[in-house]
Symmetry: D2
Subunit: 256 residues, 4 copies
């Protein structure tokens, strides 16, 4: 059987006069776009333009909600608000993106949490359940893009929400199957060869190689492509080519 993987990228993160990322360039390469919803990044004009470009390129679109925190770009860890209020903020972002995508005739397929919210929910069962409730409240048919061996993965499975299992090329994994925290040495894989080998191991052989030498089972659906670093498009292009040369088909998980 031909092995396949989706390539997803966060985008639509520009705001007013502020531009982040080469969304047009990245849309030539990825198969799923996670679009910011105006809370940590993005605005209606950016959202609409990004949805239109994605539709034109046949790229699936999803909501990429986070904390209400433009200044922190969703990277600041925020706590202390009532859980039901955070849930409503997520619902709003998902509803709004779904509505904008529907207007453009390009129905939204998935949701991926952004930044600090994603990191916090991955290890906090309550926050993970909150995210799953928010998605299901909007549309139980949506796919939740999340990491394997995470609380969000478990919460989605428990609630019967469809999950797209997301892997990273340039991050190492702990023996628990989690991303090695960036604060630790070896968290980021800088060597393109090593990145490719890790992805092939996960996609072809179904194993996560861990820093402790374990091999954890995984069924990856999508590979995270970074969009906001220098040379992001070129890096993505090389990675995509390498995957294809190794016989991996690139296709949206949402149409799998």
């Amino acid at each position: 059987m031909v092995k396949r993987i989706d390539l997803n990228c966060d985008m639509g993160e520009s705001f007013g006069a502020y531009v982040i990322g080469d969304d047009a360039g990245m849309l030539e390469l990825v198969t799923s776009a996670n679009i910011a919803c105006g809370f940590h990044a993005g605005d209606p004009v950016v959202m609409r333009r990004t949805i239109r470009m994605a539709k034109e390129k046949g790229v699936s679109v999803g909501a990429h909600p986070s904390f209400a925190d433009l200044y922190g770009f969703g990277r600041r860890r925020i706590s202390g608000e009532r859980p039901e209020d955070l849930e409503t903020q997520l619902i709003f972002q998902i509803v709004a993106m779904q509505g904008m995508a529907a207007l453009e005739g390009h129905p939204m397929t998935h949701v991926k949490t952004h930044g600090a919210l994603g990191n916090m929910a991955a290890v906090d069962p309550d926050l993970a359940a909150l995210c799953v409730r928010a998605i299901r409240a909007v549309d139980p048919g949506l796919i939740f893009v999340t990491l394997p061996y995470s609380e969000t993965f478990r919460a989605a499975e428990k609630a019967g929400l469809r999950v797209a299992c997301e892997i990273y090329a340039d991050r190492s994994y702990t023996d628990a199957g989690e991303l090695t925290p960036r604060s630790q040495p070896g968290a980021v894989i800088h060597d393109p060869e090593q990145s490719l080998a890790q992805v092939l191991e996960m996609v072809v052989n179904g194993h996560i190689p861990t820093t402790g030498g374990k091999r954890l089972p995984v069924s990856p659906d999508t590979l995270c492509i970074h969009g906001d670093t220098a040379g992001a498009v070129a890096i993505a292009r090389r990675l995509r080519s390498a995957l294809e040369e190794n016989g991996i088909a690139i296709a949206p998980f949402a149409q799998a």
Copy 2:
């Protein structure tokens, strides 16, 4: 035939810890609620709570979009952005409110523009047409609450968009049928008796009495009730009682 009128009020204008207006009190009295969409006021938590309260009281809900201007509360006149960008901002607000209302099982019925945007569009044919396009892009079945003898009214009629004709109790009208600008003497009617008489003249007899002594034909659908002034609920209660005592039925235009 029994004469009837809807009472509409702007609400959902609180933001985070900031509270404006007694929405719960006003929802006991009005029949249509225009809910802020988070751009000039409001936030997702406030939107959802207001929709839920309105549903409980059987009050119709509508989107109340404006400029992206929380600091100015939508009262600052803003120009210079690309018309298509402003249109997209309005679409976003209407889509988001419609989605939130749908989630609560209380479908949105109408749209009313807020503050400076409403004032500017009332006299600017291009801006009026832009507002009408934004509403129709989301849902051509939505009702546009707008003033008689305004560019917005004309633009809606031209585009075949259903209009709810809105009148004011406490504002005088020029011979052109427009609200007398607040900068002019006599713009605001402070006497409750005079306010009531004006409303009855408009609702019962179908005439707008103007400052120049004219009587312009009008078919009012809804009366604007102010929610953000001191004693707003008490004033609204007296006005509603007086209307009922004069044989006017109070009912939502959206169900008319």
Copy 3:
């Protein structure tokens, strides 16, 4: 010797059209005003008006900085930004308030951290030291209003920064001398008599009565008066009268 205490109150928390608190009423009663700096609340117009009113009433003014978080009103706990960036944000707020006060001819005397930042710094030595550095960077002559038995108190003393020791009338204290967390029973003292007794014990006898029955030494300089609750001015008036009737002089710490 006559015992004396300052009364401080957070104010200037309105924003644009949004009003919080009866600042004019409270300025009749307190002796020190902690004014929001536009990050979690407040804006330049509110800042200037509050400074002017405070000057007129002879009330000392201080900066009341917090996280950049208008939506959360500074009550959300925020982490994950670079410490030097947070320090610069605090410096900015203190510098701006000092500049505005200087323009009005009413030199700023003190700084008190707001909300979540204050709570977090009280128990985090690094964050406490950061706050102290920010204040000293602007002006080492400023007084830091902070709780006894807190990390902020210790950090200020260590750095040689003058401290105004702040006590609460309506909050109980743990055996460690800290405020009982609001999540615990008995954290808030609702009985005015008990509140008054606690204040007198602290001001007259120099002891903090703790929930475990201890009596910890304290030299209070200022009593926190809440401004954003219903009936705040009436509560403050009664407390001030009761203190005066018990022979306590009410005077700004900054002139002590």
Copy 4:
């Protein structure tokens, strides 16, 4: 006598994770930096970093205030707020920048209004006077960078505020001495040779060449260098070199 000109550039316009312009590169070339104050762009961290870099390069720093409008980057025309409120907003921005610059030991020398505010004030005597009052309220020794033949220039002269007369290389001038509006053909000069010729005519001969063929007297102090366009640094470098080759000394107006 050697002719001299200052080169000024707007910078410090990044916000949080959003980067605009190559400030470090531009600071190698210009002699005065107009730094955004956090209302239309910029934040405390960006302000401080920009001031430090400017100090290191010996570049004068000034405040670059505008409307409170991050979404519109200060390019949206905003009206309808009370003039005294806008004045206070400008004062706040100037005070805050002055305070931050003072902390860094690099005293602020000037003020230049940004974007829509600048354009509006240039042709509106009331708004021009408001800007001048705001600057003088903070420090009457500050220099106001403004266009010749503008209301701001006139208002500054009338109030005795020192002016730095600013010219453009890539914009044509009307017979009234104003910049040709961008909406009109020929407003922007795309040819580098023509740009250089215009600057030399203004700096060396003291004449503004107008689109109607007039030559209006001018005593330019500073030339506006754009920082937010593609290749801005390269364009600025070529222009600076060309000026120097033509015997023009490049020096800050603030030290003139």
